[in-house]
C-alpha cells in the first residue's frame, strides 16, 4: 500500500508543480486570481516552486520503482498533470487560486 500512496503523492506533486508553472504565466494568473497583484508570488518564485515540486515528484517515483520505470511513470504523470491543469484553467480557473494562496477571482468562469 505505501507504494500506492507514494505514487499518488507523486501524481499530486506533478499537478501542483505544473499548476505553479502555469500561474507563472500572466494570462493564467489573471484567469485564476483576477487583478490581484502577484506580491511575493513572482513569476520567478512560482517557477522555482514548480521546479522543486516536480523534482520531489520524480524522487517519489524513484522510491517506488527501478529508475528506468520511475522515469517513464514521471514523464507520463507530467502529461496527465498538464491536461488536468489545462482543463482546470478552462473550466474552473479559480481552483488554481488555491495554489497561489489567494482568494479566487470573483465571479469565476
Amino acid at each position: 500500500m505505501p507504494e500506492n500512496v507514494l505514487l499518488l503523492a507523486a501524481l499530486l506533486l506533478s499537478v501542483i508543480g505544473l499548476g505553479w508553472f502555469a500561474l507563472a504565466l500572466d494570462v493564467h494568473w489573471k484567469q485564476a486570481c483576477g487583478k490581484q497583484a502577484r506580491g511575493v508570488a513572482s513569476a520567478r518564485g512560482l517557477r522555482l516552486f514548480g521546479g522543486v515540486a516536480l523534482a520531489l515528484s520524480l524522487i517519489l517515483c524513484l522510491q517506488v520503482d527501478h529508475p528506468t520505470m520511475a522515469a517513464l511513470v514521471w514523464i507520463m504523470s507530467l502529461a496527465g498533470a498538464a491536461l488536468i491543469v489545462a482543463f482546470a484553467l478552462s473550466w474552473r480557473p479559480h481552483w488554481l487560486a488555491l495554489l497561489a494562496a489567494r482568494p479566487p477571482r470573483r465571479q469565476a468562469g
Binding site: T68, M69, V73, L83, V85, A86, S90, W91
Partner: protein
Amino acid sequence: MFQNFRLAMAWVHTWFGLFLGFVLMVVFFFGSLSVFDREIDRWAIPESRFEPQPMPSFDEILKPVFEDMQPSRESVDQMRSRVDGPMPEHFDTPVRWGAYTTHRDPVLGLFAGYQVPNAHNPDELVWGTRTIDPRTGESLPDDQLKIGSRFFYPLHYSLNLHWKDLGYWIVGLAALIMLVALVTGVIMHRKLFRELFTFRPNKSNQRSILDLHNLTGVVALPFHFMFAFTGLVIFAGIYFPVTHTQLEPLHDLHEVMESQETGLPHERAGVAAPIASVDAMVAEAQRRWAARDMAGDVGFLALQHVGDANGYVSIYRAGTDRIALTGEGIHFNASTGEVLREDPPPSAVERIDEFLTGLHLQHFRHWLLRWLYVLGGLTGCACIATGFLFFVEKRKRQHAKRGQIGSRVVDALAVTTVTGMLIATLGILIANRLLPVSLPARGTWEQYCFWGIWGLAMVHAFWRTAPVARARLAPAWGEQCWAIAVLAVSAVVLNWITTGDHLLKTLSAGYWPVAGVDLFMLVSALVAVLTARRLQRRARPQPADSGELSGEAAHA
C-alpha cells in the same frame, strides 16, 4: 514554392497528417486497447475468467499436450505449394515447442513447429497453436477468438491486413509520418511553452479545436514521439529485411557461427534421445536467477530439436519488474539436463534496444503506468481527431461557396475513423456475446461483424455529412455518439445476461479484468452522451463566429 520555411512545414503537416491520420487513428486507438489486451480476452472468453497462473509443470502438464499437438490446417494448406509431393497426414518431427505466459494470463498459449518432408526450404516449418487451462492441461476450444490479444493487438500494428504484409508497411509509413508530423507541428506552433496550458472552449470553433489539437499534441509529446519511434525500432527487421534478401548467405553463415560460439546446436544430430526432466531445469534456472539477485518466474519456455540428441531447452525469465525486455535466458541440454549456456549480460547497444522495445511492449507489472499509457494513447487519438476537425472547420465555408466537396469527404472519413471505429469495436464485443456458442468458426464471424459494422458506420457517415457541403455541422457525429452510448450499455448488459457476471459481482469479487472492461464501456457511454448533447446545442443556429484567428491558425 512557399514563402517561408514555416509555411512549407505547415503544408507537410496538413497533407501528410491528413492522409495517414486515418491510419494513425486506428493505430493509436487499438494500441491503447492493447495495453489491456489480456483483460479484453477475459471479457470475450468467459471460460478463461480466473486468476493469472504461473507456468505449469512441463513434465506433468505441458509435455502430454505438446505430444498431442499437430500443425493447424491453415498452416499446412499454406505450405502445400512449397513442397514436392503430397503432405503427410501426421507430422512426426517437431522442431520447436514453446509456451509463453505473462503475469496477466490465466490461460497458457502453446505453439509447435514441425519439419515438412520434401519441403523446398527444409528450414520452413508448419505451425500449430493451442490454448490450455494451466491448472489441468485441458484445451480450450480452438476457434474462440481472443479479441484483445489476437484481434485488437494485431490491428494496432498490421491493420490485420496480411496480404504481402501490406499492413505492416502501411503502419510503418504512418509511424514515420507521425514523427514528421510531430516535428513539423512543433515548428508550426509558435508558442509551445507560452500556450502549453491553453484551451479556450468558449472561443470560436476553429480556435478551440486548434487549442485542443495543440494541447493534446504537446503535453504528451514525449509519449507520441517515443511510441512512434520505438514502434519502428521493433519492426526494423521487417522494414529493412536485408538478412533475408541481399545478405541471406551472410545471415545463414552467421547463424551457424553463432551456434558454434554459444554451444547451442544449429542442426539435429539425427539420433533420437529422450527428454529429461524439464521441471528440474526450471528449478535450476530459477536458482541461478536468484543467485544473481533476480529471482523471478518463467515467462517463456522453448524446446529446440525436440526428441533429438542435439535438443536443448531454453528458459527465459518473465520481465515483470523492469522496463527492459530481457530474458536472462538459460539453456540446457534436453536429454541430460546439463547447462549449455547462460546468456551473458547485454552490451550497451542491446541494453538500449531492450529498453526501447520493452518500453513499447510493456511486459512489466505496473498498473499506474499502464493506465498512463492508455491516457497517452487516447490523447494521441484526440490530437489526430481534432486535426481532422480543424481541417474541416477551416475549409468548409470556402468549399461550400465554391461548391467543392473536399471538406465533406474529409468529415465523413473522420466520422468513420473516430466514432465509426468505436461503434465497430463495441460491435465485435456484442457479436461475441450474441453469436451462438456452437457456431462453427465463430471467431471468424466475430471479425466479419467488426468489418461489416464499420462499413455500415462509413455509409452512415457519408450519408449524414451532407450538411457540411453547406458549411453546417454534420449530424453524423451526434447520431454516432448516441449509437456508441446505446451499444456500450448493451455490451455491458449482454455480458451480464450471458455470463451472469454483472458489475456488482465482478467488483465485489475484485475481478478487475471483466469489471474494468465493463466500467470502461460505461464511462465511454457517458462521454458519448455528453458529447452528443453538446453537439445538439451547437447544431442550433448561432451567431457567426467572430473570433479572430491568429496567423498560425490561418495557414495551418
